[in-house]
Every structure is written in C-alpha cells, then in structure tokens.
Symmetry: C3
Subunit: 344 residues, 3 copies
Amino acid sequence: MTKTNPGRFFEDYTVGQTIRHAVPRTVAEGERALYHALYPARHALYSSDEFAITCGLDGSPLDDLLAFHTVFGKTVPDVSLNAVANLGYAQGRWLRPVWPGDTLRAESQVIGLRQNSNGQSGVVWVRTQGLNQVDEVVLDYVRWVMVRKRDPQSPAPEAVVPDLADSVDAADLIVPEGLSFAEYDFDLAGEPHRWGDYAVGEVIDHVDAVTIEEAEHMLATRLWQNTAKVHFDATHRPDGRRLIYGGHVISLARALSFNGLANAQMIVALNAGAHANPCFAGDTVRAWSQVLDRAPTDAPGVGAIRLRLVATRNGAPAGTLRDDQGKYLPDVLLDLDYWALMPV
Amino acid sequence: MTKTNPGRFFEDYTVGQTIRHAVPRTVAEGERALYHALYPARHALYSSDEFAITCGLDGSPLDDLLAFHTVFGKTVPDVSLNAVANLGYAQGRWLRPVWPGDTLRAESQVIGLRQNSNGQSGVVWVRTQGLNQVDEVVLDYVRWVMVRKRDPQSPAPEAVVPDLADSVDAADLIVPEGLSFAEYDFDLAGEPHRWGDYAVGEVIDHVDAVTIEEAEHMLATRLWQNTAKVHFDATHRPDGRRLIYGGHVISLARALSFNGLANAQMIVALNAGAHANPCFAGDTVRAWSQVLDRAPTDAPGVGAIRLRLVATRNGAPAGTLRDDQGKYLPDVLLDLDYWALMPV
Amino acid sequence: MTKTNPGRFFEDYTVGQTIRHAVPRTVAEGERALYHALYPARHALYSSDEFAITCGLDGSPLDDLLAFHTVFGKTVPDVSLNAVANLGYAQGRWLRPVWPGDTLRAESQVIGLRQNSNGQSGVVWVRTQGLNQVDEVVLDYVRWVMVRKRDPQSPAPEAVVPDLADSVDAADLIVPEGLSFAEYDFDLAGEPHRWGDYAVGEVIDHVDAVTIEEAEHMLATRLWQNTAKVHFDATHRPDGRRLIYGGHVISLARALSFNGLANAQMIVALNAGAHANPCFAGDTVRAWSQVLDRAPTDAPGVGAIRLRLVATRNGAPAGTLRDDQGKYLPDVLLDLDYWALMPV
C-alpha cells in the first residue's frame, strides 16, 4: 500500500463531512520578519509594536494575510491537491488577531458539492476555520474549488449549492477587542487620508511595481506549508514554468496598496476573490484599488472600508478589469473584494 | 603577513589535536522560520509548540538538521576550506534538542590521518561535537574529508584510520528526555502510518519535487555560516556554476520525505552519508526512502526506524542507487542512512 | 486629488525643516536571522548572545548595519524618492545598540540646500536620527542627495552648505555602555589579530566573493522597507535591470571583511561613503580594506580602528580605487570610511 498522500478526489467528499487538517504551526517573530522581506509591507500596525499599542492592542499582531496563508496552506493537502481550479472565496472573516507565538491549525467542513456536466470533475465548497492554541477561531471563510473525479463513471452526488452572500454585511464585521484609532498618528502611519476622504467608486492607482523571482514565491509558499506541486516543480508543466501561489499575489498587491491606502490598516473580511489569470516569475506586478463601500463601526475612531484590490502585470491600466464579453483581461491577475479598518 | 584565513592543509593536522571552531551562534525563532521557508518542512514536532508539548517536550525544538548545519558550518573554515572532497559521515548522534535561544559552538578532534598514495593530499577524520551555552553536547559525529597538502614533498604522517561502525547501534540511540508518543495525534501529524506499519526493505517514493534556485541555497548556506567559496562565487568554477552545499540537499530530501514518513519525527542518529553527485541550481530534486531496520525504545510509544534517504534529480526512479560497477548513478545526489523516532 | 506619494521635489525642502518619517518598525530575532541569511555575517558579537555577554553586553545586539538600513529605509519616501543620486554620508555615529524587540523610527532635519547651475535639480543635506521606542537616539548621520526640481523655473533658494568634517573625531566615538574586551576570546571570534597588529596604511584583501541574485537584494531591501522603485521594478530602466540598493553592497562588503577583520566587531561611526558605481544582480562582489587610523578608547581592552572598506566586482585588484583623473574605476562599487571597535 502506498504511504504517500494521493490527495482527495471528488468522490471523497460528502456534504457535512469535517476534515481536521494536518500540521499545526506556531508562527512568531521569524514569520513576521519574513513577511516583511517577501512583500513590501508597511502598514504601521503590523510593523511596530509601539504603533499597535497606541491603537489599543497589546502589540503588533501578525499580518492578517500571514494568518490567512497559514490556515489556507493546511487545507491544500486535503482540498486542493487534485484541484483543477480555485474558483472563489466568500464570507471570510478575521475574528481575532494572531499574535507571535500562537499556534494555528485548521478545520474544514464540506458545505456543497456539484458534479460538472462532463462527469470528469465537480465543484466542492468548504467552510474553513483557522483556530489558535486555545481553540479560538481566528479566521473563517468559504472557498470552492473544482476537483477531478477518481473515476468518471462513479455516480454524481446530490447537488448541494450553498447560498453565499456577495459580501460580508458591515454589521457582521468583527473589530478586534480594544482597537481604537482615537490616538492614531497619521505621520507615523505614512499618509494623511482618513476614512472620510475616500469616496465610493474612487479608483486608486498604487503606482509601485515589483518583478517577482522564482526564489521569492517559493520561499513564501513553503513558509505557509502549501504543498501544491505546481508552485515548486519546474518539470510539472510542459512549459517548465512554476505557477505562483495565488495568495502570493494577494499579499503582494495588498502591500503595494500601502501607497494610497496606508491607513487601511486591518483586513477584517474577505467578500470575494478571483485569481483571474495565472502569475509567473518575471511578471512585474502592479495594483489598483476601488472603493466599494464604507460603514461606521462602534470602535473609537474606527471606520470600515470595502475595497476591490486588483493586481495586474505588464502595466495594464488601473480601473479596467474585463473585456466586452465580461471576461477578465489577460493581464489582470487578481480581483479581491475585502473590508478593512481605517481611522475616521 | 596576511591576516586572512588560508584554511588548513593536510600537514596542519595531527592525531589527537583539538580544534575550537570559531563564531558561536545563537539560534532562535528567526532561524526556525527561515528553515520552513527554505525547505518544505512539515514534521509536526518542529512546526507546532502545542504538538511538541503533547509529545512531552517543553515546546518545539529547532529542526535536528538546523542544529547539524549550524555545527557543521562552524567546522568549515578549519576542516574543509581546502578539502577536495567530503568523503563520509559516521557515528552521528543527536544527544539533546536545541531550543530557540540556545547558543551553539563546535569543537573537533582529529581522530585519523592517512596520506594518499599520490602524495598530493590525504584523508582527515574528525570527531565533531556541537555544544550549547551550558557546554552540553547536543550533537556528536565523525566526518572525513580529503584535504590538499601544502607541499607534496612534506613527509607523510603515520597512518591512523579510525575503526568506525557501519551504523549507530540501536541501543546507543538517545531519546530526548520526556519524549512520549502515547498521546500522539496522527491526524495533526498528517499520516496514519505507525512504526509497525513499515517493513524492513520497503521503499517509499516521496512523490513531490522541488526545483532549486541559486538564491535559496545561498540563503541557507549563509544562514549556517558555511564559508566554502564554491557555494557563493559563480567565478570560482570554470563552468560558472555554484556547487550546492550538500547539507542543503539533505534538508530538502528530509523535508520531501514527509510525504510517506510524516511520523518519522526526530532524527537521532546519522549512520552514514554520501554526497553521491554534485547538485546545482536548476536541478529538480526528488527523494525516496528505504526502511533499513527497526528497533524499540524505552520511551512511551516511541520506536526507532533506520532509513536510507536518497535524493535524486531528473526523475531518476526510486529504489535504484548504483550501476553494475557499484558506482552511484549520475542522478543520485545523496545517500543518507539515519535513525528516526516514530510512534509505535 | 491623488492619494499616492509623489515624493518630495527640491522645492519642497527648506533649511531647518524637520521631517518625521513614517512607519516605525519593531526589529527582532527574525530580522537577525534574515541578516545572517542575506549576508555572510560572522562577527561573533552579533552572532552569539554568550559572546556578547562576555563582552559586557546584555546579549547580542542587532547588527549595526541592520539598524542603519532600517533607519535609512524610513527616510527614502521623504528624501530620495525623486533623488537623481545619493551623493554622500558624513558624521554618522551609532550612539546605542539596537536590541531585539526595539522599535525604530526616524526623523530628519534639512541642514543644507544648493540648487545646481542647470536649474533642473539641487542638492539637499539632511541630518537623520534613528530613535528607539523610548526616544533615545541610536544613530545619527548626515546624508546628501541630488533631487529633481518639480519646476525648473521655480526660484533657487538661498544656498546653505553645511560644514562637514571629513571624519568623526576619535574623541567623539561612543563606546556602548559596559563594553569590555578584557575577556575577549580570540578563538571563538575567529582570528588572532589585535588592534595593535594593524598598521595604518595596511591593505587587507578579504579574499572571498559572493555572486548576487535578484531575489536576495530585493528580500533585503524590502526588509528595510526601502521603497525606491529602481530596486524592485525590472521595467523601470530601459535595460531591464534592477539597481541594487547601495546599502546591500555595504552589508555584503562588511560581512566579507570578516576574513581579515574578524575582530573589528562594532561599527561606531560612518565618516564618509560613496556608491562609486551601480551594482546589479550577477555581479560577483569582493572586498578589501585599508587601515586609515587607530585610536585608543577608555573602555577596557577596546581600541578604535578607522577603516576604508571597498567593494569591487570582476576581480578588480585590492588597493586600487581611482584612475588617473581621480575617477573611481568602473569595477569599484563602494568606498566606505568607518570607525570600528577592536580588542587591543
């Protein structure tokens, strides 16, 4: 009997099934430093303990996306090893900051299944929770992927398609306990623009660009213990290229968005996300954002802003996403919809 | 007088001589994070403090190979700067875990010398100990290298060839104090296979592959403060290639072996090892293991398993090491023989 | 109104103006580990807590250049985003070690301005201070850059050119509190050469060489949160090359200087510095030093040594800096003049 993990096929999932993902991970100051080396991350709350303390926290948490990647990485061997495509995200919420020294693990529940009409594959919806060492949920999100069937002749399961809202309702956003932007220092944060300065519909071109190297995306993807072969093995694809983990592009775009959104400090919800086109080493990535919504919160001085974050390559212009047929333009890499917290 | 280190030549060694190697090193959570970025390391005991606590330890130790590389790196300026070849390892034992915050230093004793018949070089055997900040030995191994003579005319020393066992006797393995696999969580560890599930002779193909980049092996090798020029200087060899530190291949293969040997948690002995062929950036490395032996231990739920770990490139098939003449096949990079601890 | 940072132009500076730079940064053990992965750094005081304790400190501080790069990085968005050239450094002093866990921020005062005769640009002198979380100055230096004018027609400001000494006077060097080399262990430090063994005028060829990869300099430069586009964006220059941050070359050369100057433990002053020629990935960097001066200090066993540190590529010979016209040779990358502390 083979002892290696062949991954799960479409037939291996049933609605209601819970999967405890392997390899809990303690994340600490080393991961924080690497995050700053891998991405041009400059949001002050994640850079400075002192700044975070002024914002009512006990110190600087680990980047929200570091928590996301760590949890996501745990799910890969069980959810996406045989995935043909990563189709979408919904209803993601960050429920608690992750602190240096925390140990994260992940669990997923299968909440939907639908075989494709070709009989070769099907769509699997999972709700994943990231938990810390005292079993508090730090992150909760829905993701759906297209997974190959082991046997095209096996019968289709009853289709169950979960009803997913287009976005997290502002009223459901969780502001970390104690967070206050009442004493916020805009000089140290890097920009003067407040929550009230952003208009719904406004597009911000983040100007800066980063050319990605193979070593960089592999270091990052390994750090999240993501095992998908396509990211590491140059012999896996006929063209010899390694596909960059979509989350690497998310973190890169989010870090680039500092220039214009330096005060969009904490990510609190992931409404939706599409990896519009594959990204490869050598691509020069840029980012732009569009303001989608704004909402107040109960925390002192804290407003919520809903943003579309788009990553592009080859200098694709800010503000344009799709062609006439509604298809993503070939140089759009990422279309992400999230809520962040900002000083009002 | 030149102030730079020319390295030692064969004439500079005498049997019985003790060398205190330079530059002690404090290793901590930063080194742990980098280890996870550089290698696809997922063994749970080294990933999660909580998992390690469940196994009776105070927290997650630093990876056994991180300790090995750190100690090995210290010996390079004194032992292998003028080495023509790294010939072998024997009688290696890990005597104590290395914890974040520990400071490691190294000492070596020359235990053997034999001039080669050509008079140009000789073999030097050293027993190296890695010690922590309270002078406890954490690691002890024998290594032998072929070293150039300064002057081919200088007389040969009396040949002393140490008597080295083929492997560490199972009775001599040191199980870390407190270690227990009685409460081992196989779900979190990632695989269900117990010590008793592995048969002597069994070959496991670890499936996954990693293509190595120049930046990655140099970051790793520098982190271990290994100063051998061949790893860093593209002008050193006529072909412009940098030779990858053999230990980088050891760590890569060991990390790849997770897929099939996720429960071979701790390395406790190094029986033998050969860097069969040089490895270069661009190589896509795979690994396979063969079970060589099994032995019980006195610790609760803990068995010892002796494994051959082989790294290959170019998709060389698992299970085949040598050609008809007994020579390593050209795509075999590493042949390592070690003992690990596993839940029974 | 655009929300992104266009950088400051020459017209935006006035003599006496103080700029509080953005994004304070907590630096800790993760940054220390990355520093050792990025540069072949081996000075024992920064490698081992135990060694540093023997030298009278509470533990191993973060590398002096890590502190420098962190502070420097903060100044880039305000000082050098529109800089045409980084012209020089003067009067730099390290006033206090930076410890893991410290949070650094930076402030600069404009101390000089002189428009160039072409009217297109001007020179800006700033004195920058790096401060820790209790507002102690850890680093203080003068830097001057050539900055583009927004409008060539705008009037020139009154020229103010600060009077800068060629070097920091030995009497003004700050030895860290408690530092003592009375119990210095030369074996562990790696070389036997004392302060008294170095003669003014002596040239030391540091022998070793490192070929730089794109991923490495970008990881480093991001770690210091340096945002200058030229380092990251391969589409920024017509030739598709990314310019390596000059500070990367400084750290690389300083680390290489271990071989011959292993006991030049702490950098305490930066007298002058020129990035003589741009450095690019693929360059194989070597280093040599020249002893410029020596001075005693009041601390036990501690002497000060003034060194010229030169980085070269393409195997340019040690000891030669300039051509007949006094111009830097094309393969000289760095000419740095600093004071370090050494055991007497």
